[in-house]
Amino acid sequence: MAHAAAVNRPPERGLDVYTQKVGMWVFLCSEVMFFAGLIGSYIVLRFGALENTWPEPAEVLAVNITAFNTFLLICSSVTMVKAFAAAQAHDDQGIKKWLLATTLIGAGFLGVQVYEYNELINHHFTPSNCVVVRNGVEETCSILYGSTFYTMTGFHGFHVLLGVICLGWATIRAYRGHWSGGNSRGIEILGLYWHFVDLVWIILFTIVYLI
């Protein structure tokens, strides 16, 4: 019977990738389209704006602080990779250490973003109001600048928040020994998501803060 089964063994059964990882990749495809919708709208609105109504990033935003924040998020991708490597190497202490580091850096990113939002709103730059100071004179600018800024960075922040919550949960599980013995799948999947969020931020930082 076993022999017959081997002879008749029909070809092909899925990918050589475990199901949860396929699922995360598929989900990230839809996330790409979500951010493509937001970013595409931003491009259309920015190029459609009347002359001189779209401020230069540095006129409104604190680019230096956000550059530091970008650096933080990139560091957190490195620590995430370290956590996954530790899980594959059966290094329980390493898993705890690197997951905790990733969680804390992610939370730090959110903290800086909240601080940034707070400062901007104090300077009357909101989703429905745009003010720039040029030569000491307050001028209004396109509302759309604030609309797109808060929508894009806000949704990215929301994704970071979800990531930090999951990372926190994964860290708690690490201290309970859940990831020991080479059980690295959960960390790998979380890592995929985290790197995606990082990648989106690099694009957003470039188009919103730099150009």
Binding site: G14, L38, S142, T151
Partner: protein, 597 residues
Amino acid sequence: MATAIAEPTGRAVIEEAHPQSFLRKYLFSTDHKVIAAQFLFYTLFFLMIGGLLAVLMRQQIAWPTEPLTLGGILPETMVAKATDGAYMLPEFYNALVTMHGSVMVFLAIMPMLVGVWANFLIPLQLGAHDMAFPRLNMLSFWTMVPAGILTLASFFVVGGAAGAGWTLYAPLSARPDLTGVEMGQILWLIALVFVGLSSILGSVNYITTVINMRAPGMTWFRMPLTVWALFITAILGLLAMPVLSAAGIMLIFDQTIGTSFFIPSNAAGDALSGQPLLWQHLFWFFGHPEVYILILPAMGFTSEILAVGSRKPVFGYKAMVWALISIAFLGFIVWGHHMFQSGMNPALGLAFTVSTLFIAVPSAIKTFNWMGTMWRGNLQLHSAMLFAVGFVAMFAIGGLSGVFMASTPVDIYIHDTYFIVAHIHYVLFGGSLFALFGAIYFWFPKMFGRMMNETLGKIHFWLTLVLFNVVFFPMHGVGMAGMMRRIYDWTGYQHLEGIGATNQIITIAAVGLFASGFLFAFNFFWSIWKGEKAPDNPWGASTLEWSVPSPPKHGNWSEIPVVYHGPHEYSHPDVTDKDWLGQNERPDVVTPAAGSH
């Protein structure tokens, strides 16, 4: 079952006999078959709601200046009460137009095509114990529940339900001062975000399951066409729904926190420089793939039912698959044909015209292959088969009128007239819903373990077919005569003086069509409890789901089946004892030609 041999990869048998509480078994179940049934009841309810809205709307169109029958029972936010009766308010009419479309598309047809049948059929037809992510699957049903509740609630809030059309064109949808609708519009948008979330979760699940959970031997080109269609549909949903969600969220922000994505100027006349056209691009970037989300699964059901009902293999199986794939691909690059009237560079318009006309090619391939499948077949005209044949005929009419609209000069004339209404109903009712009725008659035995009544089914089919055509065919002419698509009262227009009688006939037939739905509902519910017990394989069908008991038990298979044959093997010359060859029949038991399709 008897043919399932030792499963090579040795996957553990799923838990079977766990006693489960009522709540876990029927309400918060992770079993794909129960979730499919939940979706079925949910969508049938909203199909009825959507039909009711249509009947109310039709009454106003047929007799625009007369009071509504039974209008007195509606609240004062919907009707104006006078001494001679209650007259429908224009605002309520707008809400009816909007919510009929929205409910039918988002809460009835789309979840019935995908939520019900992708859930039920993908694991069963691929030989899997369940979906890849059963709990995510449960979540995708339960995110639809708030969407339904919010939609129903929106009729009773201040200002009434959304009234800017199902396409939610800005600035009408973005500025409450233009329609008088504020809360209703916001509720509907929130519902839309829930629908999007449900659809994305579902799509992730279906795609992953198809990629990774196929039984041994279930190669890509041995998958039944239904699974192919649902797989391609899931990809469309995965890539299109997030764009609508993003746009919907921006519209919510325009309504609530003072952004101006889609608002060019506010009530005071201040320029805000938002772009209404941006909404149209985002909406139709989603909306045109959505059209194929609504028809591809129907094409899959039809292919399968026609093969079973004709006792012949599907004509051109691979061509059918490639046609599905090319329709899906083209579906992403033709959205501009909804916007010929919105102001568009003629060169771009031409590009959209040509790419749209290309879609006629794979669609025609499919239509001719369906006819090739039936050609000289041993036709079994049971209810499911009748609806499948009806689908082919109605889809051909709807598809051809689609070619009219793809052409810019014709579209400019018929844009936003009843011609469009006729077209959309020929593909969405005559197409999707006919195939759905067929699918329900066909797979009902597998889902509930009982047969539906054939006589009632056939009466339902003929009533539906005749009344459907009486309702929607004349709309082509009314539209060519110039009747506008969403008009509340056409009596003031000289050029529309002659359309009264036609509209009254349409309305009377529409009431009959709505009533015939209750015949179906009676048959459906009566059969669940009182129908004749269904055998495992009542139709003599070859796909995997028919090799397990009706209804299949939790986990579907004790052992994962092994697949040896293509999906639609009927009247195979080498099989002499019956006219079908099960996908999992051992080759050393029967000896067909290898790799057959």
